[in-house]
Amino acid sequence: MPTIGAMLGDVVHSLFIRPATEYYPFIRKSDPERLRGKLIWNPEKCSGCQLCVKDCPSEALELVVLDKATKRFVMLYHADRCTYCAQCVESCRLKCLEMSNAQWELASLKKDPFANYYGREGDVQNVLARATQKSTESTDRD
């Protein structure tokens, strides 16, 4: 049966109920349990097989091997490159990677906060020092 204004019921009803709009930055919904957020690396179990690095579709992972025998690795995780596909979590046979449901609002004016270093304190310092050394060398050459 053709009518005019078929949505009248909904339209009038809406005047008396709360708007469906979410006041996003002011009121936040809780993060879903399975939300794929920032990657967490657990160095204890890692064998340094590099499978996660190889499978990453967006080159977000770098695993620096300092000493394979004593299991000294540093994982560099670029949160800005990550597509949060969780392939690395599945690729890891030793289950040392997982995705937390935190930190999903990726807005920043700088790239620095997105580089996450995982590993022992000393090793990370070591890797960082090497990186800065390398960069100063290259600028010297320029």
Binding site: M7, V11, V12, T21
Partner: protein, 311 residues
Amino acid sequence: MNLPIPPVIALLLFPGGIFLLGYGMIYEFVDRKLVARFQNRIGPRWFQPLADWVKLLAKEEIIPDGVNAGLFLALPVVALAGALTAALYAPVAGWIPSFSFRGDLVVTLYLLSMMTLCIGLAGANTLDRFSIVGATRALTQLFSYEAPFLLAILGPAIAAGSWQISDINAYAHSNLWMIVYQPIGFLVALIGLMGKLELPPFDAPEAETEIVSGALTEYSGRGLALFKIGRNVELVVGLTLIAAFYLGGLANPLEFILKTLALLLLTAGLQSLFARLRIDQTVGLWWRIGAIVALVQLLAILAGQALQAVL
């Protein structure tokens, strides 16, 4: 209310000028908020129309190639001036009209049409294809709703036996609300006003999904701001006229606010209920239904009056 207001103040401050600009913005806000609520959204905050307007005024005005620059700049001013002038003859805010003479109703209706004519000219002035299509549609729509709208406004005028807005207002105030015995006229007038203001579902002349922004596509900055504010003023004037004629006249500011807001609620509801009409559907609707219905109503009024005279 019948306090005399010096002409300069009436023109610049109240009830014309600044007051109308601000009041138009408030009504734009109320309209947008209502439509949003009808659609279960939050809608804008109270200062949004003002913020939009200030932003537009601050922006660069681009005059596109191939237009008559003088005309391009003058049209928004003329459109706004037309709407503001029309307000001087209407009982805005429940005040007696600032200016009044016999037959000012006709002048007011013409002034209200200035806006659409200016928009049509503005569209035709540019080389942009969207503008030209929009202008064609705006003018086509003008021809379709204008006659029924005029007929619908004539109803109360004939009933009151005067062509002067203040007379009709006074007549409406002292008699039964005309919406009761001229309901068709009321509906045609209200929907005609929506057509005039190009509100949905009569927004084919500026259908964003087809022709971007219609005739005003090439306008930016001040020109666009003036057109927008002009439309707000026209909304207020149009609502004032309909409230004065059909809802028992406007005798004081409170009555004015309540009655026009009630009308605004109604238009907002109508805006959110329908899909956009194609231009051919709009024309068909007005000429096939609107005009005939308004004409029948007019004849009924005349017949009624003749009958009254006989009795």
